[in-house]
Amino acid sequence: MHDRAVPGAKGLITVLVADDNDVAQRLCRRVLEKAGYNVLIAVDGLQAVEVAMSQRPAMILMDVAMPGIDGIEAMKRIKAQIPNQPIVIASAHSMSSDRERFLAAGADDILSKPFRLSDLVAIVAKLTAPK
């Protein structure tokens, strides 16, 4: 059993944002920190896997198109180790076929880019809420 809601700095809930785009990184960090989360950043798929394993964030916001291994592959590797790790795929691939593809690969939810900030906060809140 994994205690997934690992408290980060100052006892905040930790969220991992995996995205290679630094504007997206800044945006997510700004919005989620303002909403009271501790935000970790991974800039590619391999780093996302590494941080997920070592830091055990409460949830992961995963971009798809990243250098090295992509978000889908990173998600599969993480889920293989931590099956109940909540992962939201945040992608600019927004065709319905993409959506089904991501859910089939094990995503807990999908956040289409560009997104409303309230949708971002809501989806993170939903997946970090204690069950």
């Binding site: 785009n21 945006l27 590619d44 691939h93 409303r116 900030l117």
Partner: protein, 784 residues
Amino acid sequence: MVRRATPILAIAVVIALQTGLGLPPVLVFPLYLLIVLLTAFYSSRIDSLFCAVLAAIGVSAPAMLGGTSDDLAVPLLLAAVLLVVAIAVHEVVGRIRAEAVGAERMAMELQGREERLRITVEAAQVGLALVGADGGWLLVNERLCVILGRSRAELLHLTVVDVTSEHDQGAISEALSMLRSGDILRWEAELHQVRGDGGRVPVEITIAAVSDHPGGERVLLVQETDVSTRKRVEGLRDGLVAVRHTIVSATTWEQAAPQLLGALCAHLDWDLAQYWAVDTDLQALRLRQAWHRDGAAFEEFHNQSRRLSIASGEGLLGRVWQSGIPAAQEDMSVATDYDRVAVALQAGLRSAVAFPVITGGSVIGVVEMLTHQPRMIENDLVTMLSTAGGEIGNFIRRAETAQALRRSEADHRAIFERSPIGIARISSEGELLEANTALLTMLEHDFQVMRSHAWPDLLRAYDQAAARARFSPLLAGISEGKSVQVRAGTGGGNWLWLQLSATSIPDASGRPEHVLVMVEDVTVVREAQDKLGEALESQRSANATLEKLDRTKTEFLSIVSHEFRTALTGIQGFSELIRDGGLEPDEVRAYGGYIFNDADRVNRLIGDLLDLDRMESGRMSIRTADVDINEVLSDSIARAGSSPSVEFKADLDPRLPIVVGDRDRLVQVVSNLVNNAVKYSPDGGTVTLSSRAEEGFALVSVTDTGVGIPPDEISHVFERFRRVRSGAAQSIPGTGLGLTIVKQIVEMHGGKIWVESAVGHGSAFHFTLPLAAENVTPLQRRHA
């Protein structure tokens, strides 16, 4: 009886003598006259008349009895004389006697009156006295002795001036001199006199000139009333009035304190006052304000006071702080619990009183007052000081609140004035009351034009836009917190997109008093969005065409939309953050920068896509002309030469012939390759441009010492959106279309392009262009 018998006997003796000796009436007449006179003096009227009749008979009887009628005349005359004398003398004596009795009675009456007057004077409730022309006391009553606290004997050796306070001596001396000279008959004043114990007593004094004394010297009647009770009550009342007056007219405690302490001292007759504030950090009383009478040397006392920190319960002040009620040190010389006894006595201070300054039930300070006179502290003074302490406390709290409000007001004013966002304050009817600098600058109007024209236009535009979006009009829908974007012209003739949002500011009772409208210039964001919208629209129409094409084209669309959406994520997210407000100016600037960069990237993306589209659909024509490749390469180095981080080298073949091509497109190819080389080179790297003539071709190479391309990506570098993103290259911006366009242009010229690369060592891009048919070199052409 004896008295009444004596004259009769005497007359009988004379008659016997007269008869026996036969003396003539003339001879005995003197004897009768003597008896009648004596009787008339000493006996009653009847007795004396009886005596006179007997004497008259005695003197006339012998003649009447034995003589002739001629002889009768003299005796009868003598008898008549005796009777007349008796009556006359008696009348005179009676009158004198009556006068004597009257005089005696008057004297007794006078004596009684004087006694009553003395008792009255002594018993009078006012001090009464007579003083001589020199002012010396001649006569004083008991009450005056009590008022002046001196014995009668002591006073009789002093003058009125001697017992008058130093301050009033001049006035009373002058009055005495004028009374003496008769210039005035009466003088009244209120002044202080000095008691035997040195204390001062306020009196009402009347001095009147009394009419000339029998001795001839002019004396003065002095009447004195002790008005200390009345004075004290008046002082208490006036003191409280002065405290209230000061409080009403002052705005800060610092401003009010000296005036207030001075007024208390003046009205209550104290010499020095200090205000001690409770320092909540130190948990001690500290001297904050001091006041003393002019001229008095109390500096040392203040200085020592300033050095003190007084704890709760410690000394007079500490006790007042702890208990919250006034307390006094009536006699400093016997003080056992007073903190500055030595310096107080040295300054001649004898009594002290202290009262708490209270607000909201807690003591925030203590006022101490001292005087150099011994002072009894009456209950009404304590009551008055308690009242004053409460009012001062409430004032201090009000003043502090007011000061905090003023500071807060100043802060808000600064925010309003300096905000980069336009802010308008409007009435609940929509009339513009105030506009900040940002708003006036944004719309390029002065305030008058803004109020009369631009603002009403803006409100109308808001309401129309709101109606389209099914929102309430601005004034009706403030509580909804909506924001609306409107198009507005500026005074300078520009058109802006403005985002308006309104907030109501309630008054004290909660009713909306006025409305603040935030006006943000969102032209840049809006135009970027509009441009993107147009681009997406064109993309959508392209989509219809692409659907007819193969899967590669579908995938291309997916990639393009992915690229757009990635850029839009930043644009939309950060513009939403800005729109929602609450950001620091630095953040707004930074986010605007992200939005600008991504919008710019999207714009370039669109340009590149349109270029590619034109090339691929064959709609782009090549304008052919003679082009000197070496010149293009040199120009490119010159343009890129501003980059300080990379060193440029040129290895150009001077014999390279002219090529035939579109010079602008070839410049685009070279600058794309050079930009890529610079972008992927670390600081201190080298970018080398070389040209060489091959068989029928010009060979151009752009070589860098940059990060290199991984082997698995090298075959894809000319594909759309195949940017090298791994490792150190992942943060390098670009559209991912540059090399695709380069390849297209080179191939349109009939050339080829390829790349050699090693990760960590660098990359070399080579392309060829067919030489012109004539094979002339630029040198030859220039000489032709």
